[in-house]
Amino acid sequence: MGLKSIFIAIVAVFAIGMGAWLSYQLAVPPAVPRTATVLPATAGLPDFALSDQHGNRISRDAFVGRWSLVFFGFTHCPDICPLTLQVLANARQKLGDAGHIPLPQIVLVSVDPERDTPEILGEYLDYFGNDILGLSGNIEELRKLTSALGIFFEKSFTDDGDYSMNHSAVVLVFNPRAEFHALFSAPHVVDNFIHDLPLIMSGS
């Protein structure tokens, strides 16, 4: 076999390989979020002033510079709220274990500021791990946030004079520019966050 034949064989193998690779790229659709909805146009956060669990004043600046998963709930909720926070904490833990960096911060915004003082929020959130931001405070300031984001909440009184809170169960995703970028609808499942978050955060 002459050099020319060897050259032709190499070129042929290379061409076949390139053809196969191109066919694969064209045939396999790009990975897209499975359950999350990425907004066609992001929405900026309004100015607001709430307190975190340490009593620090928190504004939209707390959302700048990193991705955030935001859930609106309350500490007197024994079922859905702890379940959701546990899902978010587990998802973040697994993403971290898999080497995904940066990890999003988790934010609980209390829709029950009457009972959820910074102290109570602090005790409650410690249970779910580190790096969870709890926000509470003045109801008017809270409404600035919920109105802009389409979050619903209302008191629901019980027969014994106590009350619960009805509230939107969605998890909102904010990008590092503090813009509402995507959302996960309930019910929440760890695997959905693990699959979709890296795609959302990488811009897919």
Binding site: T75, H76, D79, I80, Y124, F152, N166
Partner: protein, 137 residues
């Protein structure tokens, strides 16, 4: 009339039954202590009516909590609501499940140590079932 008589009939039935033939059986019991900073825990379990007639649970009590209530978390149009259940019907030979994100027992205002929690299920004044379970954080 039948409804008024049912608790008495069930009470007689309970008294006549050995433990092995209890009218109401519990399984998969999970007691969740109130999370730090809160006064409300939760309980999840499956209740099976082992009798041939419907049982209506009207009250649940616990020595470790000031009040116990049946609730159901409902997700409707993206909004989570908690609905109080005044009673719970369990059809003959059927099982009703209390699970996370659905029906659950609200354990409100702890009044003592919570390592073990006792739950008592009543049909009106008739005690149908007592369970003791270790609680988890």
């Amino acid at each position: 009339m039948m409804r008024a008589l049912l608790p008495a009939l069930l009470a007689v039935a309970v008294a006549a039954c050995s433990v092995d033939s209890a009218p109401l059986l519990a399984s998969d019991v999970a007691i969740v202590k109130p999370l730090p900073g809160t006064q409300i825990g939760a309980a999840y379990l499956a209740l099976t009516n082992a009798t041939g007639q419907q049982i209506t649970i009207t009250k649940i009590a616990s020595p470790q909590f000031a009040a116990v209530a049946m609730h159901e978390s409902i997700l409707e149009h993206g909004v989570s609501r908690m609905v109080a259940l005044q009673e719970l019907d369990i059809a003959a030979q059927q099982t009703v499940v209390f699970e996370r994100g659905g029906r659950h027992l609200m354990l409100m205002r702890p009044v003592g140590a919570l390592d073990n929690v006792t739950l008592q299920f009543f049909a009106d004044e008739a005690l149908l079932l007592t369970i003791d379970a270790a609680s988890a954080d």
